[in-house]
Amino acid sequence: MARVLVLLGTKKGAFIAESDGERKDWSLRGPFCNTWPIHHFVADPATGAVHAAGGNEWFGPAIWTSRDLGESWTHSSRGLAYEEGKEPVSAAWSVAPRDGDILVGVQPAGLFRSTDGAESFEHVEGLQNHPTRPDWNAGGAGLILHSIVSDPVDGDRVWVGISSAGVFYTEDGGRTWEPRNRGTRADYFPEDQRYPEFGQCVHNIVRAADGKRLYQQNHCGMYRSDDGGASWQSIEKGLPSDFGFPAGAHPRDPETLYLIPLNGADKGRYVPEGKAAVWRTRDGGESWQDMRKGLPQENAFFGVLRQAMATDRMEPAGVYFGTGSGTLYGSADEGDSWFEIATHLPTISSVETYVID
């Protein structure tokens, strides 16, 4: 029977929750990574390794790697640095394995690549060389590169999300980049400047199951793109707010997306009215359904951070999200009902899944 692992990055280390294909009984192990803050924790199915991206106030950035699912760990930041004199890399925020390469997003925003399994890293300089770079502004968490989406067919095509510079796209493996933000709003700019070329506060981008469509949760709205990010269409109608952080794409159906709208950027950033819901669309964002069964419906004042939701590839698909107050929720029926997997954890920064057949 399949092993279903949910990988958690938290403010105080990485954790692994594990179940079988039924996803009823769960065990939890951790904290790993010497309790460093871990912003993103993923598996590379091609190698079986797991990689945790983090940064420690004392010791700086590193990628932690385990090749035995958490039994033993190494860490490295060799090459994960800008040239002398520039603002140093303070933390790694995202990690994305693909075809033997591992891309890493860092703070201040930049992209690095490892070709040796996260033992060493090279700066993908093209992004930092973009002419808009001097005008990038930091979001609430700093100037971070938090989302990395690769084309499943052509690995030279990559989209990244930077808060709050927006979405940038390369089709030559990172040598040259262009902003891809047309149609996304920046409500925090003057009224006549709310659709700029860059400067949007993208919170998360995910690729739909067809490998073509992109979905985006933004500081100002939820969006879909069917042309590789060249243009974005709002899909926020029917949702309780235009604000949230994570997005979760269904593993097989490109029309199905999960979002967790929060009450608003300036209203506390928790679930609306203290009642938790995951919102699901089955038609690409044309309509939405609030999924609440099993989730607290009174006095719930948690938020969910940008990388803290994921789906698994089981049938039916599992959906998972972790709260700022340290609870991991799961659904084994595509969001119809929910259960607690773990409680009282540190603030959960990221949730990813790894299914081992």
Binding site: N34, E57, W58, A62, H75, R78, Y82, E84, G85
Partner: protein
Amino acid sequence: MEIGHNSGDHPVVARLQGVLTDLFPGSTRRVEMSARTVAEMIDELDRRWPGMGDRIRDTRPAIRKHMNVFVDGKRARLDTAIPRGAEVFIITAISGG
């Protein structure tokens, strides 16, 4: 303080915290070496345990904001000279949450 005879022409001692040595299997909390400046000391630590230098200094280059290096009881910089026979303490600052 006694320093072994294999510590070169400018023998000094680095004193490390467990929270740092825990990151580098085989590393020790008391390290004898020859080093004339804090930068040389960090270089030597990094030579013995690759990667340790990155944990202590950043690429400005400078000692990391939340790390402290004390030479003769005073906070030091990378270019601070280490007297022959001195003990140098490399310590994490008070921070966290």
